[in-house]
């Protein structure tokens, strides 16, 4: 039995029904691998990878086992309300009444902003949009932000300031497949989105895959095995690396002077900074040899000159720093100096992490944003969106606090007292998570919508059981800005409801009876109107067109009805059409190491787990393959701390401690330890991390903090 019949092959194979099942996309990351779900119940539902440009028929272990979560015994199927310290099952009406009463009471006593909302980058476009509207129109609170702040915000801020627009990949992901030189910055797709590697085969095979990462990750190993490069930098020195490589691009004659003159502004100002980042100085700061930097720049220039494709792609390793925006800005400057962006066959992009990390950052979950990637402090944007929403622009709240600032303010004087959480597990995923847990505990009411009892849900006063990916309809926007359909294969268990229903019911109960439809298709049509004319314009995208198999990348409007697979070919999205070199400098990690905390800890993912692990830890096959929380370090570092392979150790920072099993790795830098962030409790990596925030993006410093090691007796 096969379902390889692909009537819509030319269109990308994304029509609703395959002969044997329902065509949808994976539950997890931003690659949104195409899959077909077959079966009629959760018990017999099976997953089959489907040929699609992004995943080319591949799936990783997370995707293959994604149906397991539909049948997990840990599924919540009834609302829970905390009574006498225990979460007890109640009816939906009872639970919603508790929440609505708390909202009304709290807002009348403490003002609109006393109720806050926290969203997630895994929510569909429809839900992300509706959540933003619910906050601004029903709750009329400015206090809304989401976990994407901790994911894509630095890359987004840098993209907007340099290109005038943020779309993760401004070209289809398949363009990378023909490139002979690809520089990955803090990206480990071999573990985070394995099928993405199919697009790197060409570069890897010809020795043109280059990976900047403090660890020899499986991705970096793939580069080295193919004769490519591993730039093993010290965590938090990425901006120096970027400026050093830019310096070499100029002094070794690899720059595209004509491109700089014709399509950019601001080079002189940036050069005056980069000129002082002599490669030998960069080598001392980063630990990356001058020769290695030179080879990387030369490989990019060579591939560009021979028209064989050259790309620079950033990801969280480079972006999740308190200087993340400037760091990405510096790498964009390198790309601009080489003339890569805005030309076919070359480019700069960022690899989006969460399932709807792209769409989720466009439609209003962000504190400073309105749908269509509009800015909430722009009067024209407010007028447009207010008209679609049928409200007075003056009634729309202004910008609120960013994610960590919002969570850190909970239950404080002047901070929110009620919080609604959707699609996020900040108890595990927030930086300096101990502080965040304390703030959540200080709330008058914590409401969590989830389908399993995550660490955050376990702290809640009210838990509302919602749908899983295979039980709902909607759209997501993948890492290349292509809008994809998520389709229902199953009916959800009785007792679970869509967030759209939750918001509709809550809005009605607090006296905002209209404007919150529960049909995602109707919500999407409203999103189209709200986004019309904005940077992320979805106005010509319809479910019908998507169901007919059309491949549509935003902006997709009446002016561009076929969408825009490749941005910036004629002009950048800045007012003058030119890309901008922005003068930025290297500042280094926010927290210095010292004798008491002599090592740098960095965090990341393992292949089998997604984000906080709340979902994937419940899949036996994944959880047994991944093992438990570990700390990866060099044998010499372990020996100096008296640690032994396989034994537990404590990793201690100025903010907390984490227990982890020692995993020795000869390829680690001796000054660095690595911790995955998929576990809670004692094994929570984010007990260590530092919440220093980027001044522009408000991204916390997840990727570098000072620690020491302690043996556990």
């Amino acid at each position: 039995m096969t379902d390889v019949r692909m009537p819509t092959r030319a269109l990308g194979g994304d029509t609703p029904s395959e002969r044997a099942g329902v065509a949808t996309h994976c539950a997890y990351c931003g690659l949104q691998c195409a899959m077909t779900l077959t079966g009629s119940s959760a018990a017999d539902l099976t997953v089959t990878p489907r040929r699609f440009p992004t995943n080319r028929g591949g799936l990783c272990q997370k995707g293959w086992t994604s149906a397991e979560l539909l049948r997990t015994s840990s599924r919540i199927t009834t609302p829970l309300v905390r009574r006498d310290g225990e979460l007890v099952p109640v009816s939906w009406d009872e639970a919603l009444d508790v929440v609505a009463a708390a909202i009304v009471q709290t807002q009348s006593a403490h003002g609109r902003d006393a109720v806050a909302v926290f969203g997630g980058g895994g929510l569909t476009n429809e839900k992300a949009y509706q959540l933003g509207k619910f906050a601004r129109v029903a709750l009329r609170t400015s206090q809304i932000d989401y976990n994407g702040r901790w994911c894509m915000s630095s890359a987004a801020a840098a993209g907007i300031r340099c290109f005038g627009l943020d779309r993760g990949l401004p070209f289809p992901v398949t363009d990378i497949g023909s490139a002979h030189a690809v520089l990955l910055l803090g990206a480990n797709p071999a573990e985070t989105m394995p099928p993405f590697l199919t697009h790197l085969v060409r570069a890897a095979d010809c020795g043109g895959l280059m990976v900047a990462d403090p660890r020899l990750t499986p991705t970096a190993a793939k580069a080295v095995d193919g004769g490519g490069l591993h730039l093993q930098l010290r965590p938090g020195t990425d901006a120096a690396l970027a400026l050093g490589m830019l310096h070499l691009a100029i002094t070794e004659g690899y720059a595209d002077r004509r491109f700089i003159a014709e399509r950019t502004t601001g080079f002189d100002d940036l050069w005056s900074i980069a000129a002082q980042w002599l490669p030998e100085r960069v080598e001392r700061v980063t630990g990356v040899a001058v020769t290695t930097m030179r080879s990387a720049v030369a490989a990019l220039a060579r591939a560009r000159d021979t028209e064989r494709g050259a790309y620079i792609l950033s990801a969280r390793g480079t972006e999740q720093h308190a200087s993340g925006t400037d760091t990405v800005t510096a790498f964009i400057a390198l790309a601009l100096a080489l003339g890569l962006p805005g030309n076919p066959g070359t480019g700069f992009g960022t690899i989006t992490g969460q399932g709807n990390g792209q769409g989720g950052r466009e439609h209003g979950q962000k504190a400073d944003q309105l749908p269509g990637y509009r800015k909430i402090d722009d009067p024209a944007a407010r007028a447009h969106v207010a008209a679609v929403w049928g409200v007075d622009p003056a009634d729309l709240p202004g910008p609120g606090r960013s994610a960590f600032e919002l969570l850190a303010s909970l239950g404080t004087e002047g901070g929110p007292k009620v919080l609604l959480v959707h699609g996020s597990n900040p108890v595990v995923s927030a930086p300096d998570a101990r502080v965040v847990s304390e703030r959540l505990a200080a709330l008058d009411l914590l409401v969590v919508c989830d389908f399993v009892l995550s660490e955050t849900a376990a702290m809640a006063d009210v838990v509302l059981p919602v749908l899983q990916w295979a039980e709902e309809e909607g759209t997501l926007t993948n890492l290349e800005g292509r809008v994809l359909r998520r389709r229902r294969a199953l009916t959800a268990p009785a007792g679970c409801r869509s967030e759209l229903e939750v918001w509709s019911e809550l809005a009605r109960r607090i006296g905002c009876g209209t404007g919150f439809p529960t049909d995602p298709r109707i919500v999407f049509d409203e999103l189209r109107r709200a986004s019309a004319g904005g940077p992320a314009d979805y106005s010509a995208v319809t479910w019908e067109r998507l169901d007919a198999g059309e491949s549509l990348h935003w902006p997709c409007s009446t002016e561009r009805p076929q969408g825009t697979p490749r941005l910036f070919l004629d002009r950048f999205a800045t007012p003058d059409g030119l890309a901008r070199f922005v003068p930025v400098d290297h500042v280094g990690p926010a927290e210095a190491h010292d004798a008491a905390y002599p090592l740098v800890a960095t965090t990341g993912r393992v292949l089998q787990h997604y984000q906080s692990g709340a979902q994937t830890r419940l899949v036996e096959e994944l959880s047994s393959a991944a093992g438990d929380m570990f700390v990866q370090l060099h044998p010499d570092t372990a020996e100096a701390a008296g640690l032994v392979e396989g034994e537990p150790a404590d990793v201690v920072s100025r903010r907390g401690r984490t227990r982890a099993t020692v995993r020795l790795d000869d390829d680690m830098r001796p000054d660095v330890v690595f911790l995955p962030f998929h576990w809670g409790g004692d094994a929570r990596a984010n007990s260590l991390t530092h919440a220093a925030l980027d001044p522009t993006s408000r991204m916390p410093e997840f990727k570098a903090c000072a620690v020491r090691l302690e043996a556990v007796s």
Binding site: T48, W64, P194, S272, A289, P670
Partner: protein, 533 residues
């Protein structure tokens, strides 16, 4: 009423002086507390001297060596006076007399509260018959130019355009960089160096010999143990040339002098400051006179006169802390110096104690010599710390080693790995060559955590091809890069276990399945073989 800002006058618009002005502004952004004036002798805005060899190489323009863009200084309320030198200073009245080097109209008197000497250094011109040491300027009379300022550099580029033969005097860092740049411009270059090997301050004899070989292989001629005694213009006896101390002659229509520099201490001396090789300063960069400070190449701190830019920058940071009170306790205790040759195709770093003998009982010395490939490494360890190194042509290793040198951390125990710059050489990925020895727990398909045992199990259960193994175990269905390894395993199994080979086998053996994957992989084989849509 706002207090009058304190007046800081910086004498010297080079990399140290300009950096000091910038550092002061970091600590006093609006200029309300400190008025800063920089006086520079050259008629140009401050530029990056380190980049001049890149100008000679033709890769950037002189304009691109400017430290800051047009208008940067004025926008930050930093007064820059170019084309003027400080001809006199009154320590009592705290004034400085400026004399215009271009126009007398620039003469003026400056009042100061703090005076900083950052006068840098000048080229040392050796005595050469036929060269007027005092008359030598950036115009390059008779094709002779020192290599120090941007004007000289520009002149070298101009002369190189029509020159056929260039002679570079001095095989130190700058001499080699200039020679490499000129070679890149298509000029025939001879380096004349009085010592037995180039860069003798940064190399030992063995390393120097390898470096000499590298320089020669790049196309430069290298005359060692000789110096230039005389310059002869084109005349009846021949074209323009230089005469060496042994009487031999080299054709030379361009002569570049890079035989070292001398700190400019004349102003300091005239003020009666304590001057040794440089103007002597303490850990707070103070000279022997109150309110007079010195930084950069004109200064001497704990017996060291900086020859590279980094110490000057470090000193500027400390002096800014001291002057502005941002960190009144700030002290400068020295900069660990690391020299790196900036010449295309020569990858050389030198740091710390490098002359220690291999058999020195107090130290552990590792060395590696590969003259044929232009490689040389020498690492000097003391108590498990890297205290010195020469790294020539060893590429990647330099990154890890310079950081070990700077951090003073214990070096990896594996000394061979240390030489290679890695904590340890990394273990190689599974290859079909060692499939037989590979433990069963080895993960072959990382994307789906499929072990060798699982694949062997699937094979024995009847999966004899890659698509069949994929169907049974999901191996190869993620990124697809383990396809070769799975193929290798299947063919190894076919040859080593013909009896269990699926070809000679029916599906009776199903209970021995060792797969971990229950789900079917329908469509997969086809999808993977056909490739992307």
């Amino acid at each position: 009423m706002t207090p009058t800002p304190r007046r800081v006058v910086i004498v010297g618009n080079g990399m140290a002086g300009a950096r000091l002005a910038e550092e002061i502004r970091h600590r006093d952004p609006d200029g309300s507390r400190f008025a800063v004036t920089i006086v520079g002798e050259e008629p140009h805005a401050a530029y990056n001297r380190v980049l001049l060899s890149t100008v000679v190489a033709g890769k950037i323009t002189p304009r691109e060596t400017r430290l800051k863009p047009e208008g940067w200084w004025a926008a930050r309320h930093i007064e820059v006076v170019t084309g003027a030198r400080v001809s006199a200073v009154d320590l009592e009245a705290r004034t400085a007399t400026l004399t215009g080097t271009v126009s007398p109209a620039d003469d003026r008197l400056l009042e100061w509260d703090e005076l900083v000497l950052a006068t840098g250094s000048t080229s040392f011109i050796p005595p050469i018959e036929g060269v007027d040491r005092d008359g030598l300027d950036a115009s390059g009379p008779d094709g002779v130019v020192a290599f120090r300022t941007v004007d000289e550099c520009q002149r070298i580029v101009e002369l190189a355009g029509s020159a056929t033969h260039a002679v570079v005097l001095g095989g130190g860092l700058l001499g080699l960089e200039a020679a490499r740049g000129l070679l890149g411009q298509g000029v025939d270059v001879t380096i004349v160096h009085p010592m037995g090997f180039p860069m003798e301050r940064q190399m030992d004899a063995d390393g120097g010999a390898v470096l000499a070989r590298v320089v020669r292989e790049l196309g430069a001629k290298l005359v060692l143990g000789r110096f230039v005694a005389a310059r002869r213009s084109a005349d009846a006896e021949g074209p323009a040339r230089v005469v060496l101390d042994d009487g031999s002659e080299l054709p030379a229509d361009l002569v570049v002098i890079s035989t070292g520099v001398r700190p400019r201490v004349d102003l300091g001396q005239s003020l009666g400051l304590e001057v040794n090789r440089g103007i002597v300063v303490d850990d707070r960069l103070a000279t022997s006179a109150p309110h007079v400070h010195a930084i950069g190449e004109c200064s001497e701190h704990r017996g060291e006169v900086p020859g590279l830019v980094q110490p000057g920058w470090d000193q500027a940071r400390v002096l800014a802390d001291v002057l502005t009170g941002a960190d009144p306790a700030a002290t400068y205790t020295g900069t660990s110096v690391l020299t790196r040759l900036k010449a295309h195709d020569i990858d050389l770093a030198s740091m710390g104690s490098i002359t220690v003998d291999v058999h020195d009982p107090e130290h552990e010395v590792l060395s590696f010599t590969d003259p044929s490939r232009g490689r040389y490494a020498k690492l000097v360890l003391h108590a498990d710390r890297l205290v010195g190194a020469i790294l020539l042509g060893v590429g990647d290793a330099a990154g890890a080693l310079t950081q070990l040198y700077d951090s003073g951390s214990a070096v990896p125990r594996d000394r061979l790995a240390l030489m290679l710059g890695r904590a340890v050489t990394r273990s190689s990925a599974p290859e079909s060559a060692n499939l037989a020895e590979m433990p069963g727990s080895t993960v072959i398909c990382r994307c789906n955590t499929v072990t060798k045992s699982a694949i062997v199990g699937a094979f024995r259960a009847g999966a004899g091809s890659v698509p069949a193994v994929a169907e049974a175990t999901r191996a190869t269905t993620g990124c697809g890069s383990c396809k070769g390894a799975v193929e290798g395993l299947c063919s190894w199994l076919r040859s080593s276990e013909p009896s269990t080979s699926p070809a000679a086998h029916t599906s009776s053996d199903t209970d021995s399945t060792a797969t971990s994957a229950p789900a079917p992989a329908a469509a997969l084989a086809t999808a993977l073989t056909e490739g992307a849509a």
